[in-house]
């Protein structure tokens, strides 16, 4: 048996790949097919699906329906679901923007430190990962609460007279998401910036480029792969996030993630949840592919 693998390179490779491939096949691809199936059948009365299955495209039609009866009663709320999709995209873009805007200078700063400090600072960036995401989000909630740390502090300094409404709004959700996903932006950008040869900035200055032009013309294009990786790593999970909007938004801020979550929970509408999941996946996929297509030439050059 061992000799067979030793002699046959193709089977050797197969032997190495198959555990991982099997895992993905069994626990990612197969469930995805199940989700696809559920999205095309009618819902069961108490969750699940109607048996025997009745095929329908109603779950997709409902998404683009002006009347969102399944969600908010019989009245017509103009394009509620499409609106929530758009809203989620906007929040995800804002969060991604700030993660990159804050993360880039931070990555740059860390990359400029002495090696021992670099490692220490990177560990500080990664440490939050070791704490449970829920615990972190609840902790942040306590900081922003009406009687929370930040309000008490500002009141104590007499900078404000009454507590600020920092929780249960879009601001809180955005802050919570930036807080949660900043490390995902810092890690790839740091990897890119750390590899960047800073003597190129000297060369640019030597040739008459003021610092900001040197940055735009040399450093940014050369570290773009890291920025794109950060963009994908933050945008994709944030657009479908549901824990943070749920906790920080207090149920008032609806995002795709919370909406899908509800379909599998209180609304007991698995087929509708499945169709939304797939549409979200498709949108993200198209977005990411389009982005890579348009920037791949630039990225390849920068590598």
């Amino acid at each position: 048996m061992l000799n067979f693998f030793r002699r046959n390179k193709g089977w050797q490779l197969f032997g190495l790949i198959s555990p991982g491939a099997l895992w993905i096949l069994l626990f990612f691809n197969l469930p995805l097919l199940i989700v696809l199936f559920i999205s095309f059948v009618e819902r069961g009365r108490a969750g699940g699906i109607k048996l025997p299955p009745v095929y329908t495209i109603e779950n997709y039609r409902q998404l683009f329906n002006a009347c969102a009866s399944a969600f908010s009663g019989p009245e017509c709320d103009s394009f509620l679901y499409i609106g929530i999709f758009g809203h989620s995209m906007r929040i995800a873009l804002v969060v991604t923007f700030w993660c990159i805007a804050v993360g880039y200078p931070l990555s740059y700063f860390i990359s400029k430190q002495k090696p021992i400090w670099r490692d220490a600072l990177m560990i500080l960036v990664i440490i939050p990962f070791w704490t449970n995401f829920l615990v972190r989000t609840y902790a942040l909630k306590q900081v922003l609460a009406t009687e929370g740390l930040l309000n008490s502090f500002l009141m104590g300094l007499h900078l404000i007279n009454q507590p600020l409404e920092l929780l249960f709004n879009e601001f809180a959700v955005v802050i919570g998401l930036i807080y949660g996903y900043l490390p995902f932006a810092v890690l790839p950008m740091y990897a890119s910036i750390e590899k960047f040869d800073h003597s190129l900035m000297e060369a640019a200055a030597d040739l008459g480029a003021p610092p900001w032009r040197a940055f735009l013309r040399v450093m940014l294009p050369m570290t773009l792969p890291g920025v794109i990786a950060a963009l994908v790593l933050v945008f994709v999970p944030v657009v479908g996030a549901f824990i943070t909007p749920d906790i920080m938004g207090g149920g008032k801020i609806e995002m795709i993630g919370t909406l899908i979550n509800r379909q599998f929970g209180v609304s007991r509408n698995w087929p509708f949840g499945s169709s939304m999941s797939l549409v979200l996946m498709l949108m993200v996929l198209i977005g990411v592919i389009a982005y890579f297509r348009s920037s791949s030439e630039e990225t390849r050059r920068a590598m």
């Binding site: 190129l200 040739l207 480029a209 003021p210 040399v218």
Partner: protein, 365 residues
């Protein structure tokens, strides 16, 4: 008053070392570089030559002292506004740009329109003998080609001064020799002042109009190549530039320009020197191996006896190690003018070593 291309006035540059000490990388250096000159900063690594260059370029600011370019004080002028351009040691070409974009970068920053830029880039490429390379990327070029692109990228801006930081260091020997001549020719053609950093003494001697020999942050001697080679100011310069025999001796007497120096156990020699030394002063006599004659006694000169300890044949020359009666050892270099020349002297032979009164230098430090 003469205006210099670059002037360093008592420039000091100190760094904090990782251990918390203070390192004077450039220690009160003063030098004037004349317009149109090919000026080399020569010294071993860590001597302060690159730091000096970086201060002229504006990448570092002096801790104390002044740097003037064309008579203008530079401490308030950032690198991107200085009328100098640099050819970096590793070239520092922009990998994400084409050759054309690289060379045109300086013009682009100055707002030169695209059409003119492109015309001047092809001229610059002609100048460095790489026409038609516009659309290549730096990665697609050999080391020698990258070097030329870096040169073109700097020269296209017609700087007052071109700074070159060991630009040939990464090239192999043959290409380096070629580029030395080419750089020298190019410098004469464009008439721009070159400040050239190198640790290769031969390179400095070949190319420079003047050389500043640096060690441990000090400029030990500044002068033309023949001056540095023939009349080194101290032991370091004599040792660093070419090969030198140092023989310790004691001054016995001085009659005008002629000094009598005793080599203990060997004898007394006479050396001409413009300096005066007190009797009994310990000195080092520095004499180049090629100035020593083997078995060719000369009338107005020193003639000493010694024993051959080794003979090394190296093609063009033969090197002999000869020890005098007092234990002092010298190396002698003879050109192999005739075939079989080196076979006439053998290890253990008694030979005479002769040199003129003018050929040695008497040094105290």
């Amino acid at each position: 008053m003469a205006e210099f291309a670059v002037e360093m006035q008592d420039v000091l540059k100190q760094f904090i070392t990782p251990e918390g000490g203070i390192l004077s990388a450039v220690n009160h250096v003063t030098m004037q570089i004349t317009d149109g000159e090919f000026f080399s900063l020569l010294g071993p690594s860590g001597c302060g030559k690159t730091t000096s260059l970086r201060m002229i370029a504006g990448f570092e600011l002096p801790t104390d002292g002044k740097i003037l370019i064309r008579g203008k004080e530079m401490s308030q002028v950032p690198a991107f506004q200085r009328p100098v351009n640099t050819v970096f040691q590793q070239y520092a070409l922009f990998p994400h740009m084409t050759v054309e974009q690289n060379i045109g970068f300086g013009l682009e920053m100055r707002g030169v329109p695209r059409a003119e830029r492109s015309k001047r880039v092809s001229e610059a490429l002609e100048m460095v003998r790489l026409p038609g390379m516009e659309m290549r990327r730096p990665k697609q070029l050999s080391g020698g080609q990258q070097q030329r692109i870096a040169l073109a990228r700097a020269l296209i801006n017609k700087p007052e001064v071109l700074l070159l930081d060991e630009p040939l260091g990464a090239l192999d020997l043959k290409l380096r020799k070629e580029m030395q001549l080419e750089l020298k020719t190019l410098q004469r053609e464009v008439g721009i002042t070159f400040i050239y950093v190198t640790h290769d003494q031969e390179e400095a001697l070949t190319m420079s109009d003047r050389i500043a020999v640096m060690s441990k942050g000090h400029a030990l001697q500044i002068g033309a190549p023949e001056e540095i080679y023939e009349r080194p100011a101290n032991k370091f310069v004599a040792d660093f530039i070419g090969e030198t025999n140092f023989i310790d001796g004691v001054v016995k007497a001085q009659n005008g320009a002629t000094i009598e120096i005793e080599w203990v156990g060997t004898g007394t020699i006479c050396v001409e020197s413009s300096r005066t030394f007190p009797n009994g002063q310990q000195v080092a006599v520095a004499v180049r191996p090629e100035k020593l004659r083997l078995n060719t006694e000369i009338k107005d000169g020193n003639n000493l006896k010694g024993r051959v300890e080794d003979v090394i044949y190296i093609g063009t020359d033969t090197h002999y190690g000869v020890r005098f009666a007092g234990g002092q050892k010298v190396r002698v270099r003879e050109q192999n003018v005739m075939q079989g020349h080196h076979e006439m002297v053998h290890v253990g032979d008694e030979v005479s070593i002769s040199f003129t009164y003018e050929s040695p230098r008497v040094l105290t430090e």
